[in-house]
């Protein structure tokens, strides 16, 4: 075994050196102990604080919801007292966001869409701007969301077939499905959107031609 103080050391030398210096061991032990103690104590304190925070936040959330509902009811009274139903629908529609898809594929900016399926479902999703939804009473929001969007479109088909139209609620608004069934190969549907909705849907010319083509992918 090499003596401590020689120019070359190994682990055993160092360990021997440490063992022979009790002060160093004590200081290290105290530091390790303090670190562990601080970590444990503060973790307990932090856990208790978070419990308190959760309970305060839950109460705050509950009371805020009650207050917000009360405020929206008051606002609804103001809006319904000052505006007609048509005016409110128009106001609310101003904050509506629309998106168009065919067979669940987004089609904004497209002029042509080739469907591989003989059933074509044109879907218009209508949602309200989430930032403004907080400030609009539900009854006013509903006026726009439940507005029949199919009236803004004209559908031209070869055999003048009539689509099935249905509106249903989604997580963040409503969707209107316009379904054309049993198309024949090569048959097409032309969608003509009015200017207002075409702008909101980002449609190029306000028209979209859907062609049934078995080989379309």
């Amino acid at each position: 075994m090499k003596n401590i103080g020689e120019s070359e050391y190994n682990t055993r030398d160092i360990l021997f050196f440490i063992r022979t210096r009790k002060l160093f061991i004590s200081v290290c032990a105290v530091l390790v102990g303090l670190t562990v103690a601080v970590a444990i104590i503060f973790n307990v304190v932090y856990g208790n604080l978070m419990e308190d925070y959760k309970s305060v936040y839950a109460e705050y959330s509950e009371k805020s919801d009650i207050l917000h509902k009360q405020n929206l009811k008051h606002l609804s009274g103001i809006l319904n007292g000052e505006f007609t139903k048509d005016q409110l629908t128009n106001i609310s529609k101003g904050f509506c966001k629309y998106s168009l898809s065919v067979n669940n594929q987004p089609v904004s900016k497209l002029d042509f869409f080739y469907s591989a399926d003989s059933t074509v479902t044109v879907t218009v999703n209508h949602t309200i701007d989430s930032k403004l939804a907080y400030y609009l009473p539900d009854d006013v929001v509903k006026l726009a969301l439940t507005d029949d969007v199919s009236k803004y479109f004209k559908f031209v088909t070869v055999n003048d077939s009539k689509p099935t139209i249905s509106t249903s609620a989604t997580a963040d608004g409503y969707r209107t499905d316009i379904v054309f069934k049993e198309l024949k190969v090569g048959e097409s549907i032309t969608i003509l959107a009015n200017h207002e909705i075409a702008t909101k849907l980002n449609m190029n010319q306000g028209t979209l031609e859907i062609v049934y083509n078995k080989e379309a992918k």
Binding site: I4, G5, Y9, D13, I14, F17, I18, R21, F24, V27, C28, L31, V32, L34, T35, V38, A39, F42, N43, V45, Y46, L49, M50, D52, Y53, V56, Y57, E59, Y60, K63, S64, I66, L67, Q70, N71, K73, H74, L75, G77, I78, G81, E82, I91, F95, L132, Y135, L136
Partner: protein, 225 residues
């Protein structure tokens, strides 16, 4: 005691010079452990501090919400409605929707203005009356103010939007009665050839039902014959 300490440091010094490299390792380990302790302490204090701040902040918000729930729902609802209506409509649209709450009428010697020139006889007292008539609506008061000529500026009134002069500006008599605020300008002792000029700012003329010339130029000339 002093002797013992002296011996201890002398031994330590000789030991240090004898085992310089080992001491470097020892001190490094001690410093590393000390840093670990300080960092742990700092991080934990910060975590607990920020949690305490969040509790305090949420508690303040909760107190505020509770106070609002206990207060008059109309007052609290109006506060919310002012903010909401501004976000929904924007200030300009709100002014258009609420200008029906404020009607402005001008009369000269008790008669409606039908032309930009009004003739009166000498020695007749000329009385120009401007009325601001408020009609209550469901909008909160602060929102109704958007439709007023003065907007939300409570430091001014409609007299800042009209001037009646006969050489110098005439000071009006102001009267608030119920929902009508009246400004009355009286000019006496007029001679033949005198002129009294009424000038109105566009903000005011836009909200009045006036003949085209008066609405466009906002000026009425009262000529004494």
């Amino acid at each position: 005691m002093f002797k013992k300490l002296k011996t201890f440091f002398e031994n330590f010094r000789s030991d240090y010079y004898e085992h310089k490299k080992q001491y470097t390792i020892i001190i490094s380990i001690t410093v590393a452990l000390f840093l670990a302790f300080v960092i742990t302490l700092g991080v934990q204090i910060y975590r607990c501090g920020s949690a305490a701040y969040r509790i305090n902040h949420t508690q303040t918000q909760l107190t505020d919400v509770k106070a609002k729930l206990a207060a008059d729902p109309v007052i609290v609802g109006d506060e919310f409605a002012v903010d909401a209506l501004q976000r929904i409509f924007g200030s300009d649209q709100l002014a258009l929707h609420t200008d029906k709450c404020w009607d402005y009428k001008i009369q000269i010697n008790g008669k409606e203005v039908t032309d930009d020139t009004v003739k009166v006889s000498k020695n007749e007292t000329v009385t120009v009356t401007l009325k601001e008539i408020y009609t209550e609506s469901k909008f909160p008061d602060d929102v109704e103010m958007f439709g007023r000529v003065t907007g939300n500026d409570t430091r001014t009134d409609v007299s800042n939007y009209i001037s009646v002069s006969h050489g110098a500006n005439i000071i009006p008599v102001k009267l608030q009665k119920d929902n009508v605020y009246t400004l009355t300008y009286s000019v006496k002792g007029l001679k033949s050839g005198d002129e009294v000029v009424v000038k109105m700012k566009p903000m005011l003329t836009q909200q009045m039902d006036l003949p085209d010339d008066v609405a466009m130029y906002g000026k009425i000339t009262i000529k004494v014959s």
